[in-house]
Symmetry: D2
Subunit: 363 residues, 4 copies
């Protein structure tokens, strides 16, 4: 396991889906940031709400706690430990399939890597539940970033075959958060919801595409050659289970264009150098350009489906079949939207500290 | 700058496009690996050859040197320093545009981030030439990986609008390396070459898509939650200038599929657990599954084009136009193919050491 | 703050003296280590007991909890979170001196570094109480090391002007743990206790010297040039508040000797290469030699004393005096003995993993 | 090997005593620092001069080169590669003792750790010659620190049984650098020189003690809990071959004192909070206090002596004797004085960057 992310703003995740708790330690958070449990709970709720249409979510309350690092309402410069105790832990559905490998899950790779000792209950460390720890840490990172004006939003741009139409950042900001699927295009959202309902009935599942946008990012975040802004964003986003691809700006479409089409001309606007277009997704040479940072991630369909699938019983070393029971989301895309925001926030906060833009003490 | 990559097999890059040299230090390479300059030179040549059709490459010889870490033909356990002295350094084309920002280059972001002190000559640290240091280090990583049977190959799957047809790994291995564009589909390669020639005539450029494949990767490489195999591969691949997207296995296409279509069923083959399909691209839960690791990267069209483009003179803070002179590749995709292999090798070697699969001393 | 230690066996500390808890996350612990709360509690108790003679310790029970990383009695490969909730938190003594800087404490440096936001209650992050987190993590490291036969012991060799006489490792092992001051020389221990009692009566305090010994350390731990075994041991030991010096083997005495006196001749014993003497303290070139690793640390006298001292009121920026109230140890040396063991265990476990001697999965 | 030091100002060492070169890459140096070869050569010369009385030094010129990271006389923000090519490489003395382990050297531990592949010629990576790379990097760090007013000096305080008398920082600054043994006490220096001459005649060697002092260090450098200023200074200093102990301020003497004697009272001087005494050596709670940072290191006597010593032939696994030929310093203490300065500079520069006191771009 390597459970830490970030160089100056460092996040260490711990806990398991069906263990006592899930939690996170943030080391390197500047002193002087006003922080309450409510700041963190708000983002945790947003992640849970993301499940309303698309999933049968866990019933537990998910109450965030701050165990350390805050005194008199401000961060102290000491590490923050943020925790959610697990309540709604029912292993009954999992016991019977312990030795049957769930396709598209980490059961097989974890069993081999950890010699059969890894916590298989509810997916253990590989459960989507671990993203609650990302969201808690992301809430702190977002507060930090807001101190330098950076704003982060993510929205659903596709679920299965249904795509949202392109919209302005302003529209996305106004509409996405209010939509049950975090989709800014209401008509598309309606179709997505219908598709999810239909597929759920079949016992099947859907994936989709999420777009993350960071506005007002100052020029200069990113540490080339290797710790590029795009590289570290991609790494952080691929920590979200089910993400199978990441692209910036024009992304894969850029591969099909000519240089004259894809290059973003520099212009002067309001006395500042900007680009007329933003095919680069706000990143040039691994460094933020001041334009919106735009990233899209491909989320694969939920691995757990009720349909019968071919698999192997690893104890008996025999081929068999499996129907994955328990509570599962037919589509985890909306649930992952706040997680995309969290991973962007964690990465940008770390780079803003590395660039010296966020000071060691806030005043 | 953050010029190091890897945790146990750590690569530190230095040098500039038009400085004295480009080089790399590898720290953590096990002792006892037989290594000669020829091992490294071979990969350096492959990278240069990648330019034959698509580019007007630098004329210099690119002679790799081993400055340290090898004695009596074997690595000693001490850091390797690998170097290429720059010879063909002609700044004349660059002097005149120093203050004019080249669109889609790092001129603007580097100027802001490094306060005007960064080496702008030939792109400095942001030049594609830095990938020669990746290839040198990658050659060492490939030798290490070959000790545990891992084989890495990359090939061109698209240039501009032309795509290669899907082929078996066996065909790719046999054909891609011999093709001038590293494309295994000869008919597609022919069309790609024609397209490049046409676009070059226009003074324009093309991008494309490269697929990297790692065969015989043992189960268990990757360190979740955060140092996932896919996350670190993506980060390494995004260090290649011009890469704007990365996807694994089915990638973005997975987002459009149902779970029943995308899940790879487990089967037993030759007494081993494998998957019947490989939509996961050989990675489950951030850990290698034993199936081929398959990744595709989107390469944007070459930023430097001869056509006139709108831009800004950063010294005069005035809008102007630019035609980028000097030697430039109309399409750098083939040149990037060996670099994709190198980045995969560096990442896999690091993880194989972290998993304890490559020992500290080879015998 | 930088609250992590170790590269492959990584410990992250959190919590404060008078906050909700003190805790630690261990990332990188191999799967398959049998581990119970009792294993950790045993070392926590030893640390508390170290205070019996020398101090007025906190009354709380110090009950260790395992929050994550263990399932069915074995480590899972996932991060361990170990926690002690604080109970006996009484801030009354501290409130009145908040603005008066306690000499030889971190009050001043913390106030400046963290802009007045650091948690000053009970010393916050700078309290000796944080060493309970080191001891919890050290207990896990010791269990790991015992799997490869490494044994760690520490003992008191001096308190104030009283020194213990030199003794064999066998005697130290038999006697030190049973002595109330962890001193293997019973006569010296008696004098030390008397000295502590006398100094305590005066309202003053004492320091001392602790020796740590690691037996059966395999040859080859340590990663020169920079991550030397001695360098990382020294760094870990200096994380113990009050430690002001570290020496290995002959240490400062070696500076006064001739080469012919200090060099340890190699001999063959029981078919193995060892040294006839051990002035090197078991470390040659930063790498363990197979001889006992011997380190001594200088512990300064407890900073908190009841006597009146000159100081500054940082709020009023005025010179004043202070008598530090609350519960304080007249001598923390015995309390620090198990902490020295813990820091040695953490460092050696990390290096044993880096050397590939402790595998990723224990069987 | 782990050949890197520092988190934001990161130094990676490479090369061998009798290989092609010794060198160092500095990653993270801010852009805009004026830097020439002469800046580096000056410190390299000081290290060589340190040998004048005490040693038979290598005859080579030790010409530093800057291979990268500087353009137009200023650092660019890109990694600096600094190199000294080896010239005076004569392996003849070493060939005959290859299999005979030199007592107090790393021959044995390196042979075991690197499976017989490590470069044994001239000590390879374990040679004192590697400290030339520390000194080159230290020269850059010192220039950086001088931008914030920090001044670093080291001096010889003891050689063998001869100790220098205590002196003011002003006297040390004026006199130590001019003394052939870097000792500020001329009378003691004379006796030290006589002692060295006598011991050299016997074919034996001497150790000693070096004191390092950093003046004008701002309050707030150091990153507790673990990356304390003292901890990281100790680690850096223990990378110097032959250093066996490190102490800060009163150091080991503090262990024998009472709290009322050792505590430094706070006072106000020139409107600033300082301490009346400096037993703490300028460090409180792992953080610089603004007082001079004072550290002493114990240097063991040179391991290579001409006298016959008992040892083992590792190939024949037989006890034998050895007389170590070749050029050797009877006392390396003066040579190590500039290296102590370098290691202090590297550590302080890294912490000054981590504290945000040295900006990313100098203007």
């Amino acid at each position: 396991m390597s459970s830490s992310l970030g160089k100056l703003f460092t996040v260490t995740s711990f806990g398991e889906s069906h263990g006592k708790c899930v939690g996170v330690v943030i080391d390197g958070c500047p002193a002087g940031l006003p922080l309450t449990v409510a700041d963190i709970q708000k983002d945790v709720e947003q992640r849970r709400a993301g499940a309303s249409v698309a999933s049968t979510s866990r019933k537990e309350k998910d109450e965030a706690e701050i165990l350390s690092g805050v005194a008199a309402g401000f961060t102290t410069g000491a590490p923050l430990c943020l925790l959610i105790m697990n309540e709604d832990v029912d292993d009954s559905d999992y016991e019977k399939i312990r030795s049957k490998l769930r396709p598209a899950h980490a059961d097989f790779t974890a069993a081999v890597k950890y010699g059969g000792f890894s916590d298989w209950r509810g997916g253990g460390r590989f459960s989507g539940r671990m993203t609650a720890t990302f969201v808690m840490a992301g809430a702190v990172a977002r507060k930090l970033l807001s101190a330098i004006g950076v704003e982060i939003l993510a929205h659903t741009v596709a679920i299965g075959s249904v795509s949202a139409k392109p919209m302005t950042y302003k529209s996305i900001k106004q509409k996405a958060l209010k939509d049950p699927l975090y989709c800014a295009d209401a008509a598309a959202s309606q179709k997505m919801a219908e598709l999810i309902a239909a597929v759920k009935k079949e016992g099947d599942s859907l994936g989709g595409i999420i777009e993350g946008i960071a506005l007002n990012v100052p020029v200069g975040l990113g540490e080339p050659i290797f710790d590029t802004l795009d590289g570290d964003l991609a790494k952080a986003l691929l920590a979200i289970p089910a993400v199978k691809g990441v692209e910036f700006g024009a992304g894969f479409a850029a591969a099909r264009k000519k240089g004259s089409e894809n290059n973003d001309p520099f212009i002067i606007k309001d006395g500042k150098i900007v680009t007329a277009t933003n095919h680069a997704g706000g990143i040039l040479g691994g460094i933020s350009s001041g334009m919106p940072v735009v990233v899209r991630v491909a989320v694969k369909p939920t691995a757990s489906i009720a349909l019968e699938q071919a698999t192997v019983d690893i104890k008996k070393m025999k081929e068999t079949t499996i129907k994955v029971g328990g509570r599962h989301d037919a589509c985890i895309v909306p649930r992952a939207v706040p997680v995309v925001e969290a991973m962007m926030a964690l990465t940008l906060a770390d780079f803003a500290m590395r660039a010296g833009i966020i000071p060691r003490v806030l005043k």
